[in-house]
Each structure stands twice: as structure tokens, then as C-alpha cells.
Symmetry: C2
Subunit: 514 residues, 2 copies
Amino acid sequence: MPVNAVGRFIPEELGGRKLVPFKGAFKSKPSGYKGRTKISYHKPGKSKIKRSIEDAIKATGLKSGMTISFHHQLRNGDWIINMVMDKIAKMGIRNLTLGSRALFPVHKPLIDHIKKGVITRIESSMNGPVGAAVGQGAMLPNLAVLRSHGGRGRAIQADDLHIDVTFLGASEADELGNCNGVHGKSAFGPLGPAWVDYQFADKVVIITDNLVPYPATPISIPGTHVDYVVQIDALGDPGGILFGTTQITRSPARLLIADYVVEFLRSSELLKDGFSFQAGAGGISLAVTKFLGDYMRDENITGSFAVGGSTKFVTDMLEEGTIRKVLDAQCFDTTAINSLRDNPDHQEISSDIFGNPHTKGCVTHVIDAAFLGATEVDTDFNVNVVTHSDGMLLHGIGGHADAAAGAKITFIAMPLFRKRIPVIRDKVTTVVAPGETIDVVVTERGIAINPRRKDLIKKLKDRKDLPITTIKKLKQEAEDLCGKPEPPQLTDEIVAYVEYRDGTVIDTIKKVKA
Amino acid sequence: MPVNAVGRFIPEELGGRKLVPFKGAFKSKPSGYKGRTKISYHKPGKSKIKRSIEDAIKATGLKSGMTISFHHQLRNGDWIINMVMDKIAKMGIRNLTLGSRALFPVHKPLIDHIKKGVITRIESSMNGPVGAAVGQGAMLPNLAVLRSHGGRGRAIQADDLHIDVTFLGASEADELGNCNGVHGKSAFGPLGPAWVDYQFADKVVIITDNLVPYPATPISIPGTHVDYVVQIDALGDPGGILFGTTQITRSPARLLIADYVVEFLRSSELLKDGFSFQAGAGGISLAVTKFLGDYMRDENITGSFAVGGSTKFVTDMLEEGTIRKVLDAQCFDTTAINSLRDNPDHQEISSDIFGNPHTKGCVTHVIDAAFLGATEVDTDFNVNVVTHSDGMLLHGIGGHADAAAGAKITFIAMPLFRKRIPVIRDKVTTVVAPGETIDVVVTERGIAINPRRKDLIKKLKDRKDLPITTIKKLKQEAEDLCGKPEPPQLTDEIVAYVEYRDGTVIDTIKKVKA
């Protein structure tokens, strides 16, 4: 088993696939061709409308052993995945690969499909119980593959993940399948993250609760690529889109972290006209966005754009002219959804445009700053966002690794410990973003600059108002306060692996002991 | 030489390619895969900006024998094709296939490149002198291939026309190549017709006279697919977009034709809420659009959408709510360009979405009515739009064959004779749209319904206000008035062939005698 560039042992083969060990954030150059797609035909006048999800599944020719996918735009409010999987299970189809973008706690019923062999492989982010079950071995001997948004785009494009049938929810669609996510009672925002699915899947099913007269516009997904359209009562619970923290933190310690990030940024020479950033939807990220907006407005700085999950805090900046554009692959609140619908400077983008490294240039490769979180960071600045320190697989990667790799400065903003467990470790439980892509770790008790960034260390050395320290001292301080954390209790069985955005393998995830 | 379904002899092979004879408008079902495209990579931070067109050409690795393409959105105001071809010629590159969308009179300098062997094959519509020169044998023994908009999309998608390098003008672009055609001094409207070029070409060069800070939005072509960006002083003459008739005809005879079309349509049961149509930019088409809009407004009919080249007459209908949407692949005037930029119900579409038959459903397959012109029609209702009766190759196909094939009712609206030459013939000089796709020929002296449309004949038999007659009687009337027209003076040498939208060959074009 070779050791990869972040010191992890990667099996040469796993689940019948040869793995290529991670070599460095930009060390693997792609070659070859994109996956081929079949030339299609639709007999004019023939209806694409299927009366039920079951009829649509039958029409696609879905068979045991195939791969299906869904988008995750409705997040924890999504009812489509459960509905479709229930029908598939009842139809006796087994041994499917679930190649979704992400799963949420609402998708807990999938655990039953895993146990019954309906789903035997998952290539998807998993937030919550499905990940926990997979981490506890529920799918063994079969594996899960975790990818970032850009990495998923790459994998589908390269046919590493070939999708036989994709089922895509749309909040507005017409009878030919032209559709979008900005109109209708279940509006969720961009469908861009599903573009790679419709472009490369053999069969495309659009599921909508809002079938409108042709043509539905804006056309996010064109009917030229849609096989069937199904109308149902409701895509899900729009409230569930707001899953996760979408409120600014009220914790004084976390507000302090956000304040440190913005203060640090002021010394970096990036925070000037044309500044661009990746914003997340966590409590600290929202506070950073808010403080950043306040600072830029006060200083008359006009930023270039924000990318990533969009929120009211970002669209407020757009409305007031503090930034010129928003590039959007995921809306986290209703204000953002309405902004995408109404503001021409709010642009829908795909996962490829967002962060696929095997394109002629993606957005995350040109951003100035990324404000990211972590479940753990280690003294080599490697970052974990998928497992907790107890080894439990509970989160997806999102755009984390994509933004970290591309941003001129990447911040990990996080408290020094959670529930009295230190989050800076000698070795993170799972490496998701390599330390070479992380520049600054900001906690309420100190700020550690990656030693690779001598420029930043030099620039910040006179900022007496910022608690600049080293990652090792931060780790020690946490352990002095909370004690050394227990190592996770893991078996030797691999339940999943983390594919870096370029298709190499950066880490494996072991089954947690029962 | 087999005879195809419209009675034309098609060689089994021509210019080294096997030809498949036309079998019928919807008889050929596609199989196989779309053309493969290479997986790309762009080193973050590396500039795509090239200082000159020459530098960009060099960077693409363009070599003799390759295929290049351009879009035609600037129409007769385009300076890009001539600029790029001049540089290519000076660099000593020869034997190129020009796979453009369309050429206009402004591109007359290409004739020199043809004569010097820089261009040895053309797969493009040709309006004016380049077509005339090709028709007179200037490129022999090499050939031209003529396709409709949808047919071109099909050919590129199927890799029948593989584009090595595409040079695409954009009226606004950023340094990564994200671009559009709606902002800037050279705004021309949709870039959708070039989507198939950027999606399938090996190398993509964006040429702009308006380089803006990243990100340029709306993103019509994404930087993920762009290799190089070149800034020049001006893309062309925006006034040249208005090439061709973009004014309503003032001829009483032609106004009468337009009036007959709308009157006829009233009997067809299509002209009700939800009505959709393809509108052209010829003088009669504009009059039809105007009269149609007036009628629909007076009768409180709310149409569904208009598609095709958009004009003020169409966008006026959109503004006042007479139609709900405009689907746009080409703007013909400034009002339409501004509407595409500002009105969210005015949707940019690609050639594939417009009329590619080898997709899962295109717009032209769902339109109610198409209002089209012709250079000639024959007694089998076959239509010619590319050559004149003297055999001169002077026009492109545009979306003609795509709209005719799909529309529930296709009108050919034209005067019975031009310059005292009858335009209804026993056999058209060149078949472009097969008679099976044409329903009604409307002239100022009579209206002929295709005998296949027994339903229309029955419905219209009591309309004493319309001069319903037969195509043969119309032909006779024209010949009685003007005399029987001379047959074109043609040699046996084939200079071009017309590929039907499904990839089969519907006709060949012979060299005209000098």
C-alpha cells in the first residue's frame, strides 16, 4: 500500500477499482476523453409525460446493477429521493449505485434500502444518518466514494461515475422537460449542479410539482436532454432547504473568530476593489460575510463576486453594490432564491463552472479568499470535514476542497474545541483538503498561519491586535484546557474513500467499532 | 446513383465521403454516440489573454488541413471572419475546412482565400458572393456542404463536422472567457447558435472588443470551455446585423400575401390561446408577424411563444402580452437585442434546442405555424431557398428546413413571380425542404394547399374570401403571365450538396455555366 502525498496509505485496488494515490493539489494532469453520450431521438408529438414515478422508472429501462443520481438542491426538504427509491425497491430492482450529489437526514429511509441490497454502492456526499450507517459498516463489503462538488463534475465527465438514469426535481417544468428551480411553490434556486447529470446521464427524468405550459423559462435544463416528465404533488418541504446553520452565530467566541478573519484579511492586500470570495452558510461563515460586507461598505470597497452557497447576507451585498456579481450553485434561503430569479447579476453556475479542475478554468481557481470550516485540522494543516474525531462519517465535502485549492487565501474558521474536544490534532481522522491548500486557521484563542505562507507570516508579524501563533501551540493550548482527545475507535475495514477533486485518492474511511 | 425520396440522384460517394440519400423527413433514426471531446486542463493563474489574433491562432496549434468555425451573429456587420482568415493566410496555413454557421456579402474577401487554397472546403450557409463563387466552381474539385441550423448542430454533435478551432466573437467577455452577446457596443444578441461550437471544438478562442472584469454575465459561453481570449478594437459594424429585409414590405402584392396567410390561419383552428410560431425577418414574414399580432390583440388571444430570428415586431408582442415567451437564436434588430438582455421571458437558445432533430425534442418540433419564404417551389411542394432559378447559389438555409419539418402548419409566403420570372416550377433547382413538410403556398394570386393536407382543403373549401387553388394552376397562371422560365444553365460538376437536417443528402448543386 503506497503512502500518498498527505501520508495516508491507499490500497492499490478497492472494490474492484484501481486507486491512484493523491500526489498534490495540482500534480495530476488529465488526459483522454470525456465520457461519450448516446445520440438521442424523440418522435415529435410523442408525450414525455408519465403518470407516475413508477411509470417513468419503467420507461427508463432501469435495471438491477445500474447507477442512478439525484441533485441535492432541496437539501433536507427533499422528498424525491425517498419517493423514487421506495418505488425502485418495490419494483424489485437491486444492487444500485446511488450517484447523488448529497444526502441529508431526511434521507434516513435509504438505510433500509442499503440493508436490503437495493443500494449497494454510494458515490455521494452524506450528511447525517446515512453516512453514519455507512461508517458503521451497513453497506459492507461495498463502498462509498466521497467527492467535492467539482470532483463530482470531473468524475461524471470522465465517465468514472457513469449515470444510467438521473431523477431531477424541478420547481417548474414544461411537457418537453425544459425546467428551472426559480419558479413555483418549491423554488430552490439553481439547477446548475445537476447540469453534469443531465449532460452525461443516459436517461433523464424531470420530476416537478409545477407543470406549466411550454416553454418553461429560464431554461436551466433543456428539454433536448430530457426523456420523461412526471408531475407529483410536492417536491418536498421548502423549509428544509434551510437545513443547517443559516443564522449568524450568537456565540461571542465564534463572533470573535469571524472578526479575526476579517481583521486578518485586511493585512493580506486582497481586500480591495475587485475582491472575491467563497462564502459558506455556517454560523461563523455568515458572520464573516456580514462583517466583511460592513467593512467593505464602510471603506467603499467594491468587490468582484461571491461564489458558493448564497444567502441573504451575500445578496444584500449584491443589492447594495458592495459586490458586483453572485455566482450561484446553491441557495440557502428564500432571499437568495428570489435574487437568483430576479437579479441579472446573480448567475446560476454548474459544478463544473464552480470547481471542476479538469476544465479550461473554474471559478474557485480565481477567487481571492475562501472562508471554510472543518471538523478537524492537523498540525500539517490537513483538513477534515467529513468525519468527526470519533470516526463517525456525518458530513459531505461540498465545495470545500475546490475552494481551498483555488483561493489565494483559504481560512479555516473554527472554535478551538467543540464539546470540550480539541479539534486540532496530530493527524486528522480523514484528510479531505490537503494542508498545502490551507493558509490560515483562525480560532477564538489564536491564529495559525501555514508555514508555507512566509509572505503572510511576515506581513502579520506586527499586527499586535491579532493573536498570531503556531498550529502546534494552538493544539497544545486546547489539550491543556481539555485534555488530549481519545483516538477514534476504528476497525481495519474500509467503508469509504475520499477522492480528491482530480480523481486521486486522498484518504480512506474505516469502519467505526460498534 | 440512387434516387432519393424527393427524386434527386445522389452519388454514393462525393469528395471521399459516403452519402446517405434522403429517405423522408422523419425516416432516419440516429444511432451511435456523440463526438468525443478531450478532457481539458487550465493551470490556475495562467493568462488566457493573447495580444493578437495571430498569437491566438499560434496558441491553438492550428495547422493546414484542419477545420475552423465562426458564428454568424454579427451577420453582414462581421469583421472577425475576414480578420482571422487574413492572419491564417499570412501564416501560410492552407487547405482548411471552413465550418462556419453562415457567410454574408461582407465575407467576399474569402473568395481570394478559396482561390489560393487557404480554404478548400466549406460547410456553411453562404449568403451572397462566396456562395456565388462556389456555385461557379471557384472551389472545385472541392465541395461545399449546406445545412440548416438544426442540421449543423446535428452534424457537429455527431462528429460529421469536427471543429479543431472555433473563433467566436463576443460583445462582452472576461479574462477566463466567460462571455455573452448582449452587453457592449457590439451587442448582437444570442450566442446560443455557437454553443455547439464551444461544446465540441478542440480549441475555443473568444474574440471581444469589450473585455470586462471577471465575471462577465450572463454567462452564455462559460470560461470552462475557452482556451484563449483576444481583445480587438471592434467586432464589426453593428448596423450590419440588420442585413436583409428587416422592414415590413410596402408592396401591396406582398402585403396581400401576408394578409392571406393570417386569414388562412384563422381557419386552421391553431390560432387560439397557446398559439406558437416561427417568424422570419423577410419583408413578408414581418408583415405576417405584424398582422398576426394585431389580430391576436384584437381577439384577446394569448399566444405561447415565437421562435427564430427575433425582431421588434415579435418583442412588441412579448411586451404587450400577446405572446408569453420568445425563444431566440438570432436577433435582427436592436430592439430585439435589448429585449433579450432585459426581458426574462426572452430566452436565448442553441441551434440544438432550436431545431436539432437528434435530440430529445427541439423547439421547431412543437411550433404551431411556420411562416417561411422560398426562391422556388415546385408542384410537389418541394422548396428551394439556396439557389435562384438561374442556378446561382446565393442563400443559406437558416432554420427553414427545421421549422418546416416540425410546424403543424408550414406556409410558404412568396410572390408568384420575381422580376417576371415565375417561382413555381415543375422541379425546383435545388430541394432544401421536402414537399411533405410544406402545407400551404400563399401568393398574391392564389393559395395552394398541399394535397396531403385533406383536412385543410376541407376546412378552407367554404372560405370564398380566399383564392384557394392548386399548385399546378398557380404555376400555369404565372407562366401565362410571364412565359415559361428558362431552365438554369448547369454543368454536370457538383459544387455542393444539401444535407437534410437528419444527415441524409436531399440534393446536390451543380456548377453554373460561365
